[in-house]
């Protein structure tokens, strides 16, 4: 189908299925839908929107149709994305399965594994969490020690993960485990899929500076995992892990990108006020806002540029590290500015009139943007080494 025809079809579909309330900006966690056995819909509009999209496979527009994906070409996928952005449609499903595990399965999974896991991701039936970090292995991820010892056609997994986002909500976890301690630390890591309901898996929420507990400690106590759940080869999980990280980084960068639509100057104008020429009353703040908006726009166009370059056959590779770094830092600056623009009410922590301290809590949350998915410093290391070719 031609792109123009497709665009028309998309617009008709979105108009019919994405109701007005689903086109408002996401205000908090309850406005999002993550799927899985613990999920409930906030309201009928959300349910309708999600099912319409899942049915067409447009929760994952460009994944192969044989697994239930949309089967769209890159070009058609871009049209869909553009129209959704233009109409302000919320993403119907947020999912680590879509952003992280899926791409890794498509690249490294066996056909059986894809058939087993991709449909559940696409239909939002299975919610995944990411078991990478450990108390002793954060930035130095390859130093991880959660062990998986061979026992016939199973592994016995023991150890602890930490900062596992939404582990208490998830159905399954993709985890990095150590299957060999005898050589270089990057060798001897195995990428394992584990059902959270397996005997011996437990989680404990951690309270964050935002006052919320979206992530957990995850414990493995003699957990039996079938060997069929290894993605890639035993001891070769590091390659899968790194590939997945490039997708995670690109999606973290992309998440801040969508916020570009709400101009920060809007808050400033209404809360700080303007003079008779329409110039913001606080001129020092004004120049910092303009600078931020300039950087945010420059970054957005860079994402567009990379998307086009990828389409033209160029590889993005380590550029995902730059994107993650820049996008994360931008989002942190944005919330610093928001507090300054809004003043008093944005500093409130609780109470009806203050939307439950939404801005202050979100501000706190953004501090994680330069830590999650590899810290800013680690991204700069990667750019220096892999793009600029500087030696270690």
């Amino acid at each position: 189908m031609s792109l123009d025809q497709f665009r028309e079809e998309v617009v008709d579909f979105l108009e019919a299925n994405c109701l007005k309330s689903m086109r408002k900006p996401i205000l908090d966690e309850s406005d999002t839908y993550w799927g899985g056995r613990n999920a409930t819909f906030k309201n009928e509009d959300q349910e309708k929107w999600f099912h319409a999209m899942a049915e067409k496979g447009w929760t994952t527009p460009t994944w192969p149709a044989k697994y239930g994906g949309g089967g769209l070409s890159k070009e058609h996928g871009i049209v869909l994305k553009k129209e959704m952005t233009r109409l302000g449609c919320r993403p119907p499903l947020l999912s680590f399965g879509i952003w992280m595990l899926g791409p890794a399965l498509l690249k490294f999974g066996s056909e059986e594994q894809r058939e087993e896991h991709l449909p559940g991701i696409i239909k939002g039936e299975v919610r995944w969490c990411q078991g990478y970090s450990e108390p002793g292995a954060g930035s130095d991820l390859a130093g991880l020690q959660t062990s998986a010892i061979s026992d016939g056609d199973h592994y016995i997994v023991n150890g602890q993960k930490v900062w596992t986002s939404y582990a208490d909500q998830a159905d399954k976890i993709f985890a990095l485990t150590r299957t060999d301690n005898s050589s270089k630390k990057q060798i001897g890591i195995t990428f394992l899929l584990i059902d959270m309901l397996t005997q011996g898996v437990s989680t404990r929420p951690i309270k964050l500076i935002s006052g919320k507990s979206p992530f957990c400690e995850t414990f493995f106590d003699n957990v039996r995992v079938p060997k069929a759940n290894v993605i890639g080869d035993e001891n070769a999980g590091w390659t899968v892990a790194k590939y997945l990280l490039t997708h995670e980084r690109a999606s973290i960068a992309g998440a801040s990108d969508s916020d570009v639509m709400t101009p920060i100057s809007y808050y400033a104008k209404s809360k700080v006020g303007v003079d008779k020429n329409g110039v913001l009353n606080d001129v020092m703040l004004r120049s910092r806002i303009a600078e931020w908006e300039m950087d945010a726009a420059s970054f957005k166009f860079t994402m567009d540029r990379y998307a086009q370059e990828m389409k033209a056959g160029q590889s993005i590779g380590a550029k995902s590290s730059f994107m993650k770094y820049y996008g994360g830092e931008l989002n942190k600056k944005k919330y610093e500015l928001r507090l300054e623009c809004e003043g008093r009410t944005s500093l409130a922590w609780d109470g009806e009139g203050f939307k439950g301290g939404k801005v202050a809590r979100q501000f706190c949350r953004t501090k994680g943007n330069s830590i999650e998915g590899g810290t800013s410093e680690i991204q700069l290391n990667i750019v220096a080494k892999h793009i600029l070719g500087l030696p270690s």
């Binding site: 303009a290 420059s298 166009f301 860079t302 600029l388």
Partner: protein, 365 residues
Amino acid sequence: MSYVLTEEQEFLKSSAKDLLKEAPVALVRELRDNQNELGYSSDLWNAMVEMGWPTTALSEDLGGLDFGLKGLNILMEECGRTLSNSPLFSSLLAGLVIQKYGGQSHKEVLTKAVSEGATIAIAIQEGQHYQPKNNGTSVIGGAMSGSKTMVADAHVADHFLVSYNTDNGVEVVLIDAKSQGVSISKEFYMDSRFYSTVTFDQVAVDEKEVLSAGKGKSVVSYITNCASILISSELIGLMTEAFERTIAYLKERRQFDKVIGSFQGLQHRAADLYGEIEVAKSIVLKAVDALDENDIMAPALCSMAMAKTSKVAKTATNEGVQMYGGIGMTDDEEIGFFLKRARVAASLFGGYTYHLNRFAKMSGY
């Protein structure tokens, strides 16, 4: 909207690279040291004219190559890499303005100029800064008086496009450089180029030579937009080259028994700068396309592009000098030429704060 070059554009780029091989940074030094009175190589300029560079953005009916601003972006970026000076900048800018706002007589002057390599210089700025609204030049009884500063290529110009004030606002007029009452005083700047103060003392103004009379404000705004595109494109070339040289030096210079590029303190600054250059490139390409397509967002994007590139070009050249260490401070090392050109380029037709402010105003705050 396309960020990826077409085959024709690739060809333009590689032919630009080829020609500019003859004009390395060493040439800038040579011209400076020999106190060349033009400040550029006339051989190089003649070669550019022969290849039709001044007509790159002009439409076919004006005898042009019809590449749009995109073509100019490519040429200016290459000129930025080698710091090449020539009247190209003024010729391109005048061409864009006359193509859009000029009448028949302006177009005749233009087509003759671009084919012969004659220069039409743009005289807007007065005083210390580019503030096109503060115009002291005026026409009384058909005679123009006033003084323009920082006029690039005035010392070789046959014509000027000059802005002046009327009761109804600003206008832009084409003036013959040989007119009675025009005097040009050539000044030498830190980028080893000449800019002039041009004084108009009771210069007769022919009303037929006014560009789109009554629309002077749009003309000046368009000049600002086009100049932003040309200069920010040049700055992209300049910062990319300065950065690549700096990275090469980081891989070569040894201290503490290691190459200095292995120190994380330097690596992080270099990686951060890499990212700033990446985003600066994107905003310039976006602005180029927007102006080519007459997008209503174009003026705001042009100002963002200019503000962003002036900021990053300054950082890139500062970091260059710093990471070269003592040798970066010497005249023998070329990185200093980049530092100095960046400062001048980033102030012509409005620098960082001018354009950031312009962008903020256009965004309604």
